[in-house]
Each structure stands twice: as structure tokens, then as C-alpha cells.
């Protein structure tokens, strides 16, 4: 028989008292949750436990006693015996630790009063970190009790996570009982969290009214229902943090933009740039109207198309001249929108680019329409050329006998389209390439907007600051082993199987190795690790 005792690390140095915890049903193991310190009234302890039981549905009991003092054990013995009679149970644990010693001494007392020593029971202490177990979200949330019984570790996690109300007391609370557990030194950032919770809803309602494009995200973040699963919580936190960062970056951009008259400088460079692009396009068209790269274009069609596009550029240049006095003002007002977030500013930039390259878009549309029309006509006339036609009802190509005039006209048109195709295709190709450049630029902007919106900053922060909250499993390592004394194991969370577990130990060894001059390798040495 091996008796396993899951002991929280935070209680290692706790003052003497009673061990609150639970015997895992069906397993020979106990979970210690907290230590109740000595000046207490047994009736109050029992009442408190029953209250907890009604709140959490977890069968919490007094497991035994904990003594950690310099006083000699013998004075306490009688007192502890008395305690075991007050809190009657089948088994009573007597844990004691002497300062300066690493291991615990443990004694298991059965109800009939006779102390069973280590001969009968082999005892293993598993030290776990309550904070990590609570926050690692390894415990199954929606599982019912029947499933929980299936695995011992699951039962442990379940017990710890379910007895959350037990950890709400801290040492600053005025209560009849004093406890030691992971939050007994004060809860983690609780005031801040509460304040933010209170303030966030009205603030974000306001923001939702102001900014429509994040409505969906806000609905996720500020839905009144609590995030039930870990994933949902992570999503909410991620969206919130990304929004926060986004706004901060936007404000940074504003502060950069509105200093040193940068807006007018920008406006003064923008108009000549657009002009320059128009000039370059004009040159390109003139090149196309000649014999570009020795290609054999139809001269007449080439001239017609070139003149058409040149006229468009002419229109565009006059439009830009007309716009130029107002551009600075427009930019000034548009720049203000950056206070709604960097993503907003980037989206506005994308729209401005789309507006400034409207001529390229027009050319592209004309070219594509013309080309599409030609390809479509050629494909249907090619069917006519072979004496076939497309049967719409049966969705297939049928043979068909055409009239003489149909054939003649069709062939005439086919020949004309075929010989004009290269010219159109060249114009289409050039303008499609130009369009692709613009689309790529806009795509990059959209990609970065998407990146800012969806970057899991919160998860990244957690990964760096609180890695145990993203734990995947637990592992045990030997903490203290001494013949004759109970075995002490340390339960640790690890993130993933593949990534190396960077405990402080390994950092220390790394530094030591560096200092001594041992060879170091990026991969991990095989360590004695058991799950």
C-alpha cells in the first residue's frame, strides 16, 4: 500500500495547525488544500467546513495535523491525540517538520488509536504548486463527478479547482480562522481587476457606439455572460489586449504626425508623387503605342487604345491639380482618425491608395473587359469554326449545321478577333501587372491590420510571465529522498511535450556550464522525467 499525499508547496513553511483537504474517494491518496492555524474553536472549524461543502459540493475534511515548530514533539503529542478524537475520521495524519530539515515526518493514526508506522504504509509526498494547479486550467470544467473518479490526478485537480471559495480568505480578513494557502498573502491584483471590470462596460459601450468596425469583437469581449471555458477567456483577453495596443499605437502615430508640421510636408510630397505616377504611365502608354519589345501589334487598334488611355491620364492629372489645394486639409482630418487605432489609420491609408490609383484601376477594368470579351467571343466563334455549338440545355458541345451567311460572318469575326487579340492581351497584361502592384500593397496593409487585430499578445504575455497558465500536463521529479523517510515528489506543470522545460535549475546549470567551459548544446539532455 502506498499512501500518496498531495501537499501544497505554499504550506511548507506554514505555522502549525490543522490540515484541511480531502481523501480522494476510491484511491489511497489525500489532497491537502490549506492549513488552519492554531488558535481556533473546533465548532467554528466544523461550521466553516460544512459551509464550504454546501458551496462547493466537495467533501472537505480535516485530514490531520501539521506541526512546524522548534518545540519538542513530545509536548504536542497529547494535544494532537485530543485533536484526532475531536475531528473523528478513519485515518488521521500527523505531519511534522523540523526547521532546517528537508523532509517531513509522517504518522498515520487509525481510528482505533494505534499508530501505524512506515512498516505498513509507504508514504509518498507529492508537492504541488496550488497557484499553478488553479490557473493551469488542466482540470476538466464540464465533467461530472463520475468521470472525475476515473483518474487520481484528475480528482486532485478537480478538488483543488472546485474548492476555490476556500482560497478567498486571506490573512488580512478578520475572521475566526487563520489559513495558509496560495492566496493567503493577498489575492493577485484583485483590486485592479475589479476596477477594470466595473469601468470597462460603460467605456466600451461608448467605444462601440463610436467605432462600428470592431462591433463584433466588442460583442465577444463585453458579452455579459462570463467566459466559461479557458479558450473563450483567452480569446476575450486577446481581443482586449490587441485593441488596447492598437489604440496606443494609433495615439503614438498621432503624436508623431502632428508634430513639426509633418502633415503639410506629407501633402506636399503626395501631389508630386501622384503627378509623377501619371507621367510614368504616360510614358508607358507611349511605349506601348510604338512597337513594344518588337511585338507585332495591330497599329490601328494600338493607336485607338493608346489615345483612349492617354485621354484618361489627362483627365486624371487635371483632377489631381484640382484636388491639390485641399489635400493638406483632408490629410489633417483623416490623420485624426488614428486615435481610433493604428488599424483604422492603416485602413484609411489603404483607401487613400485606392483613390490615388483610381486611374490604374480604370485602365485595368477596361483592359480586362475588352480582353474577356475577346476571349469569350473567340471561344464561341472557335466552336462555330469547327461547326459546333454550345448546347445550353444539355451543358455540352453539340454539332450544328449553320447557314452559309452565319458561317461567313462568324469566320470573318473570328479572323478579326484572332488578329487583334495580341494587342488587347498586351494592354491587359501591362495594366494587370500595374493593378497587381497596387493590390499587393493594399494586401500588405490589410495583412498588417489583420495581424494587429488577431495577434495573440495576451497569450504571448502569459507565455513569458506566467507560463504555468498555459500548461499542458504535469510531471513529477524527486525532491527529497532519504532512506527510512517518506519520499518527496515535486509536481510541476509543463507546457508541451516537445519544448524543453526551462526550470530555474536548468538555467543555473547552463550558467554554470558556461562559466566552467563545458560544451552546451541546443537540444536537451535526456533527463529522468516521468509523467
Amino acid at each position: 500500500m502506498v499512501l500518496k499525499i498531495f501537499f501544497p508547496r505554499c504550506c511548507n513553511m506554514a505555522d502549525s495547525g490543522l490540515l484541511v483537504g480531502r481523501w480522494i474517494p476510491g484511491q489511497d491518496s489525500a489532497v491537502v488544500l490549506a492549513v488552519i492555524h492554531y488558535p481556533f474553536i473546533p465548532g467554528q472549524v466544523k461550521k466553516y467546513l460544512s459551509e464550504l461543502h454546501s458551496q462547493t459540493q466537495v467533501d472537505l475534511t480535516i485530514l490531520g495535523s501539521w506541526s512546524f515548530s522548534k518545540d519538542s514533539q513530545k509536548d504536542m503529542d497529547e494535544f494532537l491525540k485530543d485533536l484526532s478524537t475531536i475531528f473523528s475520521h478513519s485515518r488521521w495524519l500527523q505531519l511534522s517538520r523540523e526547521p532546517g530539515k528537508k523532509g517531513f515526518a509522517c504518522e498515520v493514526v487509525h481510528k482505533n488509536g494505534h499508530a501505524a508506522g512506515d512498516e505498513e504504509h509507504e508514504i509518498i509526498f507529492v508537492h504541488y504548486d496550488q497557484r499553478k494547479v488553479m490557473l493551469s486550467q488542466l482540470h476538466p470544467v464540464q465533467e461530472n463527478g463520475a468521470d472525475v473518479k476515473s483518474s487520481e490526478l484528475r480528482a486532485v485537480f478537480h478538488t483543488v479547482s472546485q474548492s476555490e471559495p476556500l482560497f478567498l480568505f486571506d490573512k488580512y480578513d478578520d475572521g475566526p480562522l487563520k489559513l495558509t494557502h496560495w492566496q493567503s498573502d493577498g489575492r493577485e491584483a484583485s483590486i485592479l481587476v475589479e476596477l477594470i471590470k466595473q469601468a470597462s462596460v460603460p467605456v466600451c459601450m461608448l467605444l462601440t457606439l463610436l467605432v462600428g468596425y470592431r462591433t463584433e469583437q466588442f460583442q465577444t469581449v463585453f458579452s455579459t455572460s462570463k467566459a466559461t471555458t479557458h479558450m473563450e477567456f483567452m480569446r476575450k483577453a486577446n481581443i482586449f489586449v490587441s485593441f488596447f495596443v492598437d489604440t496606443a499605437l494609433g495615439l503614438l502615430l498621432i503624436s508623431w504626425l502632428y508634430r513639426e508640421n509633418r502633415i503639410s510636408y506629407l501633402a506636399n510630397t503626395l501631389v508630386p508623387a501622384a503627378d509623377h505616377v501619371a507621367k510614368e504611365l504616360q510614358n508607358l502608354l507611349e511605349w506601348l503605342m510604338g512597337a513594344p519589345a518588337g511585338l507585332k501589334m495591330n497599329r490601328a487598334l494600338d493607336e485607338v487604345l493608346g489615345k483612349f488611355f492617354l485621354y484618361h491620364i489627362h483627365l486624371w492629372i487635371s483632377y489631381i491639380r484640382l484636388m491639390s489645394p485641399f489635400i493638406e486639409m483632408i490629410l489633417w482630418y483623416v490623420g485624426l482618425s488614428a486615435c481610433l487605432g493604428l488599424t483604422f489609420a492603416l485602413s484609411v491609408l489603404s483607401d487613400i491608395v485606392a483613390l490615388l490609383t483610381f486611374h490604374i484601376y480604370c485602365f485595368y477594368v477596361y483592359g480586362a473587359r475588352l480582353y474577356c470579351l475577346k476571349i469569350y467571343g473567340l471561344s464561341s466563334l472557335w466552336r462555330l469554326f469547327r461547326g459546333k455549338k454550345w448546347n445550353v440545355l444539355r451543358q455540352r458541345v453539340d454539332s450544328c449545321s449553320y447557314d452559309l451567311d452565319q458561317l461567313f460572318l462568324g469566320t470573318l469575326l473570328f479572323t478579326i478577333l484572332l488578329f487583334l487579340l495580341p494587342t488587347t492581351a498586351l494592354y491587359y497584361l501591362v495594366f494587370t501587372l500595374l493593378r497587381l502592384v497596387v493590390v499587393t500593397f493594399q494586401g500588405l496593409i490589410h495583412l498588417s491590420v489583420d495581424f494587429i487585430n488577431s495577434f495573440p499578445l495576451f497569450a504571448l504575455g502569459l507565455r513569458i510571465c506566467r507560463p504555468y497558465r498555459l500548461a499542458e500536463g504535469v510531471k513529477f521529479c524527486v525532491l527529497h529522498e532519504e532512506p527510512g523517510a517518506p519520499l518527496h515528489l515535486l509536481m510541476e506543470c509543463y507546457r508541451t511535450e516537445t519544448s524543453s522545460c526551462s526550470s530555474r535549475d536548468s538555467w543555473l546549470t547552463l550558467v554554470k556550464k558556461l562559466f566552467v567551459g563545458e560544451l552546451i548544446y541546443p537540444w536537451r539532455q535526456k533527463s529522468t522525467k516521468t509523467d
Binding site: A291, K296, M297, N298, R299, A300, L384, F385, R386, G387, S401, Y402, D403, L404, D405, L407, F408, L409, G410, T411, L412, F414, T415, I416, F419, L420
Partner: protein, 293 residues
């Protein structure tokens, strides 16, 4: 016959060629009467030489048509024939041909009214005339060799795909190929009117002449050899004025097509040996999926 010898003990019941009865024979059993049903050459036709020559005349005259068209085109290109002359000649020919066509047509069984014919003619004229400036500049930047190669390919396609067996109306592909070739060639001519004249000429030769010839064959059998012969003579004569060697070659080709090829066909027909019998012919099916996967 392996199955025959296997089951040749003493069958009590005679074998019958039925599937609905259970018989004491293997499934692939056949008896001695199997080869009695062998037939040889049941669908082989014995051609008479002159009828084959008459049919082959159609091929020759089509070849001559192409030669004639090319001759006319080179005359136009060199400027030896004014486009108006060609147009007038074409108009006269088409009027004559139409009259002949109408005269030979049977009474009552007209598919098209005269009005529809006139409409078609108007469409030809209007579109050809309207498009000829476009067609004129169409192949300007394309090199002459490319145009010639395309035309040659298209005319060959016309000759290959021409429906010689049932030349009611020229088949779509062959006519379209010929028209494509004529558009290509016409676009190399010096003037707009030249293009128009050449296209009309092409239409006459490749679209309307086969219709007339078909009607001639059906209505008056005896006229067909004369018509075909005339076309052949015209073709060879036309080429002779430009390029005598080519004319000789064309003449030889026509002789081979009209006289030698039918002789070969009739000679080789004797060696034909087809067997037919009560068996399913073996089909070799390559299982391509084996190779594809």
C-alpha cells in the same frame, strides 16, 4: 477446339446453341458446325473503274478550285487584274450560276425563298464591304511568311475536311478554313477594294460553287464530268500563266488523283479478304489505368 475434344465422350443429348437450358457441356463448348458459318468478303464492293474516276474527279476539281483561287490572288497582288474587273466577272458568274441553280432545282421543294437568298447576299456584301478597311490593316504587322503559312495550312485543312461523299453544302470546318485563308490572303492586297473583291471571289469559289456543282450532279448527271474537267483545265491553265513548273506539277497531281489512284483501288480490291462468323471479335483493350496510377 479444346472444349470440343474434352467433352467428346458420348453425349446423349445433342448440343444446342441456347443459354436457357442446362446442358452437359462446358460453357465454351461449340460443335463441328462452328466453322460452317464462316463467311468471306460479304460486304466488299466491286468497283467499276470509271465510276471511281468520276468520284475522284470531285477531289481533283476541288484542288483545281484552290489553284484557281491562288492564281486569281497572285494576279491581284501583282496588280495585273483590276478589282473592278474581278468584281464584275464575279457578279456575272454568280448571276449566271444562280439562274442555272434555279433552273436545275426541282419544282416545289424549295428550302429557301428568293427573298432569303437576297438577304444573305446583302449581308455578304454589306459586311465584307464594311469590314474590308479593317481587314486591310489586320495583318499589317504580321510577317508575310506567317500569313502564307497560315493560309497554306488552312487551305490544306479545307481540302482534307471537304465532305466529298455528300457534298450538299460545304462542311463547316472546311468552308471556315477556306474563308479564313481567303481573309488572310486578302488582307495582304494593296487596296481596300482589292480585299473586298478577293473575299467575294473566295466566297464564290469556296461556298457557292460547291452548291451549284452538287445540284448539277443531282439534276443532270452527265454534266458533272464536263464541269469538273473545265475547272481542272482552268486551274492548270491559270497556274501555267504564272509558273509553268507549278502547272506541270499540278497536272501530274490531278492525273494521279483522277486516274492512278482509282486504278490502284480497283486493283487492290481483289486482295481483300474479310472473314465473318458467329463469334465476337476480339477487342484489345489496354488497361490504361494501370499505367496512369
Amino acid at each position: 477446339m479444346g472444349a470440343d475434344s474434352d467433352a467428346g465422350e458420348t453425349p446423349a443429348v445433342p448440343w444446342r446453341k441456347v443459354l436457357y437450358e442446362r446442358q452437359p457441356f462446358p460453357d465454351n463448348y461449340v460443335d463441328r458446325r462452328f466453322l460452317e458459318e464462316l463467311r468471306r468478303n460479304i460486304r466488299v464492293r466491286q468497283y467499276s473503274y470509271w465510276s471511281v474516276v468520276r468520284e475522284a474527279g470531285l477531289v481533283s476539281q476541288q484542288l483545281s478550285c484552290v489553284a484557281l483561287f491562288l492564281t486569281l490572288w497572285s494576279y491581284m497582288e501583282q496588280g495585273n487584274v483590276a478589282p473592278s474587273t474581278l468584281l464584275c466577272t464575279g457578279l456575272g458568274c454568280s448571276v449566271l450560276g444562280y439562274a442555272l441553280y434555279e433552273a436545275l432545282g426541282g419544282e416545289g421543294c424549295r428550302e429557301r425563298t428568293r427573298c432569303a437568298d437576297l438577304q444573305s447576299a446583302a449581308v455578304f456584301m454589306a459586311f465584307t464591304f464594311g469590314f474590308s478597311p479593317v481587314l486591310k490593316t489586320l495583318t499589317e504587322s504580321v510577317s508575310t511568311d506567317t500569313v502564307y503559312a497560315m493560309s497554306a495550312g488552312m487551305l490544306t485543312a479545307h481540302l482534307v475536311f471537304f465532305p466529298y461523299t455528300q457534298p450538299s453544302l460545304p462542311g463547316s470546318l472546311s468552308l471556315n478554313a477556306a474563308l479564313f485563308a481567303s481573309v488572310c490572303l486578302a488582307s495582304r492586297l494593296p487596296g481596300t477594294l482589292h480585299t473586298f473583291a478577293m473575299l467575294s471571289c473566295g466566297l464564290l469559289i469556296f461556298a457557292l460553287w460547291p452548291c451549284l456543282l452538287q445540284r448539277l450532279r443531282r439534276a443532270a448527271q452527265w454534266t458533272f464530268p464536263w464541269a469538273a474537267g473545265t475547272v481542272c483545265v482552268c486551274g492548270v491553265g491559270g497556274v501555267w500563266t504564272l509558273w509553268p513548273v507549278g502547272a506541270v506539277l499540278l497536272f501530274l497531281a490531278l492525273i494521279v488523283l483522277t486516274l492512278v489512284c482509282p486504278l490502284l483501288l480497283v486493283r487492290l480490291q481483289r486482295h481483300k479478304d474479310n472473314i465473318h462468323g458467329p463469334w465476337d471479335e476480339a477487342e484489345i483493350r489496354e488497361d490504361l489505368s494501370r499505367f496512369l496510377s
